[in-house]
Point group: C2
Chain length 363, copies 2
């Protein structure tokens, strides 16, 4: 199949540090190439791929300080893809609103994976193009009345994560994620203090979250019970999560997927999470962690989480959140949509030629 992938330009594909969407696009693209598809990746020019790379910008926009109007590159990027639309059987967009208007103008079908969240303003653009085929990354993400054709969970490269047979002594809880109110680091601290557990926290602090961090997080960091370890690379993340007794995921918003839960389970560590967004789809409750209705319940479930099988945690990821599963899911969507399009084309041609026969007969 001839497939175009449209990646965001903000980070390279794959990303050097953060960039959940770019990581998913990379895993998907490389696996599609391995499966024999003819794939063109529209991404920043400093991306690395086995596919044909078409550069939407010379470098990832986040790294190019000379760029003042990033939206100009979003426009360039989408337009470049659709100029070549006829060369593909299917276009897979990971850029949300930027490809929608153009997708509705060409005969090559586009599928759109929704990686982000709906906002007061962007939801109007999705609703304007509600007949386009959308893929949600969890069922919980289906908050708009638009044409969802499948849910395909994000997949990780299981083989890149070591398995941690048992938690480190002395034991601790882990928190990994952006330090923003939505991710709930303040609740992780409260749970640790209430139960007396040690807590190791890591992740980035965005500029917009600086005040939140300074006020609600920093005063609690003592380097003993509550540790803050800053940003981490892949290896460090696996260690932090793998050595933990349990990972806390005390979110306060509707997380559309929550990759950290999967990264924790794959290294063997159960996740205790607040039941919002995708949580109940990602955790096998009572097997790979606990889905809780309150932050108090999260605190209470820590002793029970320690009893869970770390092997079962990893197995759960292997069975549901591997790159193989993700790519199987996307391939099935491509085949369905291209199949429907081919059938429509065949049907229209057949109908036309039948009508022509009848017309010539009765002429």
């Amino acid at each position: 199949m001839k497939i175009a992938q449209i990646a965001p330009l903000w980070e390279t594909v794959p990303p050097t540090t953060y960039g959940g969407t770019e990581l998913v696009v990379s895993r998907l693209t490389e696996e599609l190439v391995r499966r024999g598809h003819d794939v063109t990746l529209f991404a920043s020019g400093d991306s690395q791929t086995l596919a044909r790379l078409e550069a939407g910008s010379p470098r990832a926009l986040r790294l190019d300080k000379s760029i003042k109007e990033p939206v100009m590159y979003e426009l360039l990027h989408a337009s470049e893809v659709y100029k070549h639309a006829e060369e593909f059987d299917i276009i897979h967009s990971h850029v949300g609103v930027w490809s929608l208007a153009l997708a509705s103008m060409v005969s090559t079908p586009t599928v759109h994976t929704l990686h982000g969240t709906f906002t007061r303003d962007n939801n109007k653009v999705f609703r304007q193009h509600h007949t386009q085929p959308y893929i949600s990354i969890s069922d919980s993400q289906r908050l708009l009345n638009i044409n969802y054709v499948a849910t395909v969970y994000n997949g990780i490269s299981v083989e890149l994560f070591p398995f941690y047979e048992k938690a480190q002594e002395p034991p601790y809880l882990a928190f990994l994620g952006r330090f923003s109110p939505e991710k709930g680091p303040q609740h992780a601290i409260a749970i640790a203090k209430e139960t007396g557990w040690r807590l190791k926290m890591a992740g980035k602090v965005d500029v917009v979250d600086k005040e939140f961090f300074d006020k609600e997080i920093a005063p609690h960091i003592d380097g003993k019970q509550i540790e803050f370890l800053g940003e981490m690379n892949h290896q460090q993340k696996a260690e932090l999560l793998g050595n933990a007794s349990a990972t806390l995921f005390p979110i306060t918003w509707s997380e559309p997927f929550g990759l950290v839960m999967v990264e924790s389970m794959v290294v063997g560590t159960p996740v205790i999470a607040m039941n919002m967004g995708s949580v109940s789809e990602v955790i096998a409750n009572g097997v790979s962690g606990y889905v809780c209705q309150s932050y108090e319940e999260m605190a209470k479930m820590i002793p029970k989480a320690l009893q869970l099988s770390r092997h079962k945690c990893r197995e759960h990821v292997e069975n549901k959140f591997s790159v193989k599963h993700m790519v199987d899911g996307y391939e099935a969507v491509y085949e369905k949509i291209v199949g429907e399009r081919n059938f429509r084309n065949w049907f229209n041609t057949a109908l036309r030629s039948s009508l022509e026969s009848i017309t010539s007969f009765t002429r």
Copy 2:
């Protein structure tokens, strides 16, 4: 002719205070309706027009504080127009980059008036769509290698401006415009101080220009020789300019049009301007003002400007920058482009039927 006009959503059409582009779109749209065209205006929902109004947003974006992501409305707006492209003979876009990709996907032609300036980032989008037909608002604005089909100067409603037979006593110079370094208010002050002339200044101070204003302008305002009068409505602007002996236009950048020069000349006041951007096209040098090569030359030309005929200043606007001239210019472009398209369609149809005759003959 069935014409779609795409206006920016930032201000209403016409604008309540500032908004040069929205004012031009309004004058053009109303006159096209009066000339019998079937016009649809895509603009903010609180716009006023004789044409059919299609709302791209309920209210002008500048006035709607609840909007966090204005680009979403730019996307919605452009997409809504091109969904209906087949209903028009021609689409006239005043929104720059936002309509370009879509314009290149439909058979209905679009003409794009370039109201703004090219930036390091946006010029890439124009170059990507270099074959689209562009209209410059001055010849000096043609800085990119793209398909310019005409220059159409902005036109004003001459009848809405009173004529001031002679300047007020005691005499003064006028400066009207945004208080930003590009508009050169600092040079206006220097010229006034050097020559001993009084200077009355008016215009808005944008947030980004606050520091410039506080440092370079405010210390010179004494309310006697140098007066600052703040933002002004139409009536106040006409008075400020009309009572002046001359208007200073000491720009430091390539102004694409410079409406203030026209507003000054129409009320009878000559303009002394720095020769950058459109200046030499807008001022009839030695008739309606002076086009100077330096700020020193501007100071020297003040006595000569006092000798110019104020009637000739107004006549120059009547002959070159009226709404009638502007609409004549745009109508000519529409006719040329629609004519070419009709010819292409006719030619293709004729060619196809000739080929079919030949084929059937030799079968």
